[in-house]
Subunit: 381 residues, 4 copies
């Protein structure tokens, strides 16, 4: 036995999710009225650091306008129902009405309808008419086919999003999207996601990404992790990509905002994402619960319709209040799912934080949420 | 890529809650009759290290007297129902009777009634008449308005308590309370809370705080942590502030007691708080369960009535026995929620501890309470 | 701020319970038939390393004989019903029949009956007649009163057991038991428990203890830990006291066996206790489940009858099989609660262990039992 | 006290299971069509890295053929019903129909029927006729009796499998199997399992093992761990044995594949096993759920029939789809239990992995699956 044993598990890096950490107050507090959450995001003024996910159950041209009226942003899904059907309302109604055992087949059928290129300028015009910047999200495959049509229609921000975005995609059967070249001719900012890896994010910034979306199997119980074994707890992923952003800024002088996408449902999670370096968070389910959401109290992910390896399915999220209540309150519930922006402001005040970037100075503790304490008599403090 | 990546999550400090630790016996034991739990607390003699929380469902002038009769203390809430209504009994009855879905609106309505300054001397006189020292708790905002009236009425101890107390509060719209100046003119000891940060606590001691209350989102499952992302597990918070107390004592010669406020429901948690440096613990829910408690078997925190971002709500805690039974027994239950002081005395005996400060010599182990063992056949030992 | 902050929680030692560890096979295996579990225990030959707890629901003179017939030992409780009542059968029947809400009061009443000194020689004779060595357990208080009577009656082993046994007990109101002197005049081996501290155990060995019982709040969910805050997870406690035993052997040449008492219900836990240094384990509930057990399917600890601070209560453990089945099988269940000795033998075989002390060479891994895997489709391997 | 205390628990090595880790994407991705999962396994071409467990409820000669048609392999159990009964169909029907309380007795009765040596060549011929290589698994005891008959019948691969396989088995009552000698005369590759120890695996390779099966009490909640205290979480076990394989390759030039056997039910777990060094995985329950499986929706382990210390029992796994659907899809469920190979391919693509060995370059994070997040609103991403 000449060669020593080197077991891979002896050098595992620990990774953290939202439930693993907590924010610790310091020596200062600040009046909530003195907290300013505004920033510039890819050239778009953003009053509060929230973008609605490009999910069919969340963002329509109409809800994009309502969300913008609350000082936030919304992305629409180029491969969603709004670009496949002139009137997708019957699709949404059918999904909401379908029995559980047949909804997966219904997804497969509805999403088999091809994208209708004529709807691209129409939806973009509708978003603008509703008062919202035109933000469109699509996979690299769809960008390959419809990218020029989207550019021609004029967008304020294009998000190229896939389950795992890398700095280099290898394919022998087709020519992968050349990001640098596409960015050069797009004439609009192009954000990229999702990634969780600092080196990949840095390379994407070098290729011209306007923003990086972070989130790959971000939840400890998410389907991607069960089906594929892949997932980076979101706190670690955001912290790592934020480190790449800071390094790229130091090296290039360009600031590329980082968007925490996935695993965020409550005000506390937004504050935590900002504290580990996010500029903005992307949320889906909290807004799918709004009364105006297209999903009628249901939500589903982009991987749900897959005909061969579905991951995720239709989830009943319920309806809790208006988009205004979800984002800016007033909240009538006590679980943190309403008045998300008010919660972030109050959190900033208690932490002595003046603005979004100020969250990065807050001490983050490793403090796992214990299941055992959940049954205690609770206190309001 | 010239600049190395520095990910914030690579240097997280672990934080501990009550369920994460356990106390380990040493080489000595002592007869329970030889344990002496008495101390001086801000000039008030205290037979047992327990203060009742300034929660409406717990402390009225009457229960303050009953709690004092058991050798403990109680604080009354200046912003509670007792200072808004000459006769708050109908309020308590309405809260207990309200259906779950409307209780939050009822809170908002009842607590919208302004504070009646004429009730300040009246309640203080009632506390004294019941045999209790006059201990009043209030937020900095209320102190700004009613502080002089409270001082004029004569208090034994004033507790300025907010969700997060800092050493420096920044506000452009109003003049924050100047603690040093207020302490100088108060003519009574002024305690400050809640904090969880050693540096903030040290600065508050320098500003004249008579005692420091510790507890910011202390429970791993508490609402503050979900809604705001903020929370310091209580064992770490108490240990840190106790370290500041010891340093301040070494530097100044003045001893500022530390009160563990939050997350304490059982005798074991009191012993643990003392072992990591608390002088006293503040408890709410265990006393809300007493038959004489004003809450009729319910409890709610101060943040529950918030009209825009309610955190916490009415909790049904039930009624288990008299204040005497809860504090000094005899206990008829086996879960540690009655005879709290007897339990602390017995714990001290088994640990060879002679008095409250003696707990600090006890070894504390990191020994998380496992959910899996909860279903085992239990033993009485 | 001249003095640095030193927070006690920054140096917590991790402690382990049975569910936190697992035993790892090595390079050898052995035929189960070649495993020999016998040893000498305080001068008594012991075929298998199990002693039945001195609990009323477990050990009567009759069951002591049945347990001995299986190659194990049993201790009877000097302060139990067998020494208070000439015929305790009606007591056991009443406890089994009592409704849940009144059982605590029934305990208090039944155990208020004084010890009848004339029953001491009678029970000892009954144990011997049943074929069992006379092993009696009692608290230091009872030994103070009845110790000489027990010695006069002739015992094979006396176990002085209290919730926490220290090397030095301090009491101003009475003269604590002088262990060295008592051991000197006892004329029989005197074992001491329970402790969890290596230094205390070493001192007790110096004072003449024949064996050390280990277990103070050994379970992560045990009542002592909730009520008093005290508890040392059993794996750490046994490992620490075993270290003291080994050091004392090196220093004095005398070998003092270590008994793991508490938290053991299954074969796997016995193997783990032996692997971290126990010579013997003491078990209660697994034997309370035997059809011949006095408790009629119930069990209760010695602290349950306390009139002021009851800890633990009557637990329904059910009845699963005979004492023979529980100890030597055959087992008809698959959860490890029957054929405990067969399981230890099979474990030894798979680990390449030839005898009880051989377990100490087995690698112990930190491998917490995850709640999440409990729902998986199980496999028999 | 001259000798210092050395407590064994102060040097515990942490061990990891599948739920403790997650795979992290890197800088590259790859088109799923460019992933090639094929390899040579003990001289048999294997399109996908899956072998069906030698469990009666999973592998018959017929299902061995169906599994081979999907590019995988299957092992048949020499001590199973197929080698005890000319027609075992009535046995399977009886097991599926037995009430829960009598199934253990039925197991004991059915498996008491002796092995019929005339069935050995018959079953091997049936496997070949069904298109499957003849892979037979048996314990060392059975190999001692029937090994030559199996060799004479001609097998493609023989797996000698016991609960814990060591490099050296000690027995005074019989002559243990001499592995080196048996391998020399077998004329077919001989794989050995199960082990979890690197040194034992290395020694077995030196003795001529063609492959090493890894898995000893691999699940955190498995019966072996409860009953015997023994178990090595599978990620650590596979990683350790893979380290031995790499060392043996460096020392000897011979490559001995490592098979992760146990604890694998979903695509994510296969990807994780490959990432820590497995060449192949062995799965049972996922295939017991196939409509063609002999177990009629039930599964049981080899230890279940033990008449004295049964571990594991009949588990109802249900029936979800065909063998083709389980292995190659299409999947109609979203929990990762169908289209296992498709999931591995998709995982490889997202991780930039070109083939089975490429998984070893993937970063593995310590990222425990939290129970608390399980209740979140899920997302498909």
């Amino acid at each position: 036995m000449a060669t020593p044993f080197t077991s891979k598990v002896d050098t595992l890096r620990p990774a953290y999710g939202f439930d693993d950490i907590s924010l610790a107050p310091g020596t200062d507090t600040i009046d909530p009225a003195d907290v300013d959450l505004a920033q510039d995001f890819c050239g778009i003024p953003l009053a509060s650091p929230i973008i609605a996910s490009a999910m069919d159950a969340v963002v329509s041209p109409t809800t994009a306008g309502l969300i913008r009226a609350q000082g936030c942003l919304a992305a629409i899904n180029l491969e969603g129902l709004w670009f496949r059907y002139a009137d997708p309302a019957p699709c949404f109604a059918a999904i909401a009405a379908a029995p559980k055992e047949s909804v997966q087949a219904l997804f497969a059928q509805l999403y088999a309808q091809p994208i209708d290129a004529t709807l691209i300028p129409r939806r973009i015009a509708e978003m603008r008419a509703a008062g919202a910047p035109a933000i469109v999200a699509a996979t690299p495959q769809a960008i390959g086919t419809y990218g020029d049509a989207v550019i021609a229609a004029g967008v304020d921000l294009l998000i190229i999003q896939s389950q795992v975005s890398s700095a280099r995609h290898i394919a022998s059967g087709y020519a992968p999207l050349e990001l640098s070249a596409f960015v050069a001719r797009a004439g609009a900012p192009v954000a990229i996601g999702n990634t969780s890896n600092a080196a990949a994010a840095y390379a994407l910034m070098e290729q011209g990404a306007a923003a990086i979306f972070v989130g790959v199997g971000p939840g400890n119980a998410c389907t991607t992790r069960e089906v594929l074994g892949i997932g980076v707890p979101q706190v670690t992923a955001v912290s790592d990509v934020a480190a790449a952003r800071d390094a790229y800024l130091a090296d290039s002088g360009r600031y590329v905002p980082v968007v925490a996408d996935g695993g965020i449902r409550k005000g506390g999670e937004i504050a935590k994402a900002l504290a580990v370096g996010a500029d903005v968070v992307m949320i889906g389910s909290p807004l799918a619960r709004a009364s105006e959401a297209p999903g009628h109290g249901y939500n589903w992910g982009m991987a749900a319709p897959s005909p061969t390896l579905p991951r995720g399915t239709r989830i009943e999220v319920g309806t809790v209040g208006s988009i205004e209540q979800v984002l800016n309150g007033p909240s009538r519930v006590t679980d943190g799912s309403e008045n998300l922006i008010g919660a972030v402001r109050q959190s900033a005040a208690a932490l002595g934080v003046r603005n979004v970037r100020g969250f990065r100075d807050v001490e983050v503790m490793h403090a796992p949420a214990a299941a055992t304490e959940g049954k205690s008599w609770q206190r309001g403090r």
